[in-house]
């Protein structure tokens, strides 16, 4: 199996996400051994944000890192495990609510593909960028 980032790169719809991870300097962390649960927004999700949003974030790595860390949980959790709890604490610190079990919705994003297992964690593909608050 591949690591989270390798899996994402191979699929081809996470270009923006991977570029962001690089810009934020989080590549090293996400390639490490610690298990992670990553909610990965597809490229269309980033494109749906109003113009300039991503650019501003990319220009400011600490701020970008914060938004990206909001998409990551410490530990690998499958869909079944996730839906058992109402809120999960993200790496950023703010909680991620599980809004619905069927369809599987995380905050205001729908999980299009759940339980993509990788070496160092699980990836759930989401259709929107989620933001704290």
């Amino acid at each position: 199996m591949a690591s989270i980032l390798e899996t994402a790169a191979s699929v081809g719809v996470f270009n923006t996400l991977l570029a962001a991870v690089d810009a934020a300097g989080l590549r090293g962390a996400l390639e490490g051994p610690g298990l992670f649960t990553v909610f990965a927004p597809v490229d269309d999700a980033f494109a749906a944000l109003p113009p300039g949003t991503v650019q501003t974030l990319v220009d400011n790595p600490p701020q970008l890192a914060r938004i990206l860390k909001y998409h990551v949980l410490s530990g690998a959790f499958s869909r079944e495990q996730l839906v058992a709890q109402e809120n999960w604490d993200s790496l950023e610190g703010a909680p991620i609510p599980i809004r619905s079990t069927d369809p599987f919705e995380v905050k205001n994003a729908t999980v299009v593909t759940a339980d993509v297992v990788c070496d160092n964690g699980v990836v759930h593909v989401i259709d929107r960028v989620i933001l704290p608050g």
Binding site: P50, Q63, G133
Partner: protein, 434 residues
């Protein structure tokens, strides 16, 4: 016949209508509109006042940063409003050719109308000190009052306030204070005796920086809106609101920081690496503290604390522009009137014309423009609400009724804040409110 029925079926709403008192407004928000009704006059009024607000705002953000970064802990800051040329020339990150994310087509230094006003004021060409003493200047006290509102209300979201209590901040501040007062045994001695007092002053200065960086964005946004309107680019109030929403998103990730400059050296009291964002640490707290809450203004009314006329819970404060009563008697010097007087100097001609034709014409321009300003701030608040909805909830054209109900609940919760009698939401629905 069938086609009409079919199209009606397509247009049938997915969720039942709201039963909230402000159902009309909620439905308008759900259709992508603003709390302010979409009429040509409303659009004209709010764009005009945005422009009139942006010119003094250009001074506010520059001077706020000047105070936070240069004046800092000067014990006798008598000249804190005498902004240095460097800060007048400080390029606005969102205007001018040098900008990476250009919002305004105009220049990056201080607005020419502002410079002209600083030169002449209402009285004429005089030495700057005389202008200052005569109070014929931009009322910077208003900006400071907004800052104090944010400082006092504290926890309104974001990480900024908690950081100000953290050890990292204290260490940064300590380093900065010691550097600032290097060679001044009196102040250093006072600092040793009363470290908390100095620390609190630095926290206040951090809020100066916060507000300055917030308004650095808003000024070019408003200028650009005025330019777009002048060339006919806005079809209505929702268009103006959408421009604000896009602007909010575009700049949401801007870092919020507090750097102190002593000579050429920079001391980072709040470094950019802490990850504070414009949206979460500046804009949302600002809206909450200044639009909704602020504090009762001295000199307009008497409040009996024993009779609970001022709420015991800070979150219940309702003295912001959205609840403001614009006819205080003997109104000299309270923050809203300071801003109103500032805006009076920069009104575009089409707005002056509207005021001339209504109520008492030129005699009560201050009140008329105050009402216009209230309308415009409801529009800004609508933009913030729509932006929050866009960020945290679902698109307006979502087909899932559950999602639409979530949106509905969000809007209703926002409208609940305007149920109290002081709210002006119902007043602004009518064009007669002037």
């Amino acid at each position: 016949m069938t086609a009409t029925v079919a199209s009606e079926r397509i247009k049938a709403p997915l969720i039942p209508p709201s039963t909230h008192r402000y159902a009309d407004v909620i439905h308008r928000l759900e259709a992508g509109g603003s709390m302010l009704p979409d009429t040509p006059e409303n659009l004209k009024q709010i764009i005009g006042i945005y422009k009139a607000y942006a010119v003094p705002m250009d001074f506010y953000w520059r001077d706020l940063l000047y105070i936070a970064e240069r004046v800092f802990l000067n014990p006798l800051p008598a000249f804190k409003y005498f902004i240095s040329q460097e800060y007048l020339d400080r390029p606005n990150s969102y205007a001018g050719d040098q900008s990476k994310l250009r919002i305004w087509r105009g220049g990056e230094t201080a607005h020419p109308e502002l410079l002209e006003f600083m030169e002449r004021g209402e009285t004429g060409r005089m030495p700057k000190l005389l202008h200052h003493l005569w109070h014929d200047r931009v009322n910077m006290e208003f900006a400071e009052a907004c800052m104090q509102a944010m400082l006092w209300h504290q926890g309104m979201g974001g990480r900024f306030n908690n950081y100000l209590e953290s050890d990292a901040y204290k260490a940064n501040a300590d380093r900065a204070i010691k550097a600032y007062f290097k060679g001044n045994p009196l102040m250093l001695g006072l600092y040793a005796l009363f470290p908390e007092m100095f620390l609190e002053q630095v926290r206040q200065l951090s809020y100066y920086a916060n507000l300055g960086l917030f308004w650095e964005v808003m000024a070019p946004v408003f200028f650009e809106m005025s330019d777009i309107y002048d060339e006919g680019g806005f079809k209505g109030v929702p268009d103006a609101m959408d421009f604000l929403v896009n602007g909010i998103f575009a700049v949401a990730g801007r870092p919020i920081y507090h750097h102190l400059y002593i000579g050429d050296e920079c001391y980072e009291i709040i470094p950019k690496s802490e990850g504070f964002t414009w949206l979460y640490e500046a804009a949302l707290p600002y809206v909450e503290a200044v639009f909704y809450r602020t504090a009762p203004f001295r000199g307009t009314k008497s409040y009996n604390a024993q009779a609970d006329q001022v709420p015991a819970d800070q979150a219940d404060f309702h003295y912001g522009i959205l609840y403001a009563d614009l006819f205080p008697v003997g109104s000299a010097g309270i923050p809203p009137t300071l801003l109103m007087q500032d805006m009076l100097h920069f009104l575009p001609p089409y707005l002056k014309e509207i005021y001339r034709e209504h109520k008492r014409g030129e005699e009560d321009e201050l009140i008329q423009l105050g009402v216009t300003f209230q309308r415009s701030m409801y529009n800004v608040t609508s933009a913030v609400i729509q932006a929050l909805r866009g960020a945290l909830l679902y698109p307006l054209d979502d087909t899932n009724p559950e999602h639409l109900m979530a949106n509905r609940r969000f809007f209703e919760a926002q409208m609940d804040r305007f149920l109290r009698p002081e709210a002006r939401l119902s007043d602004i629905q009518s064009q007669d409110y002037r």
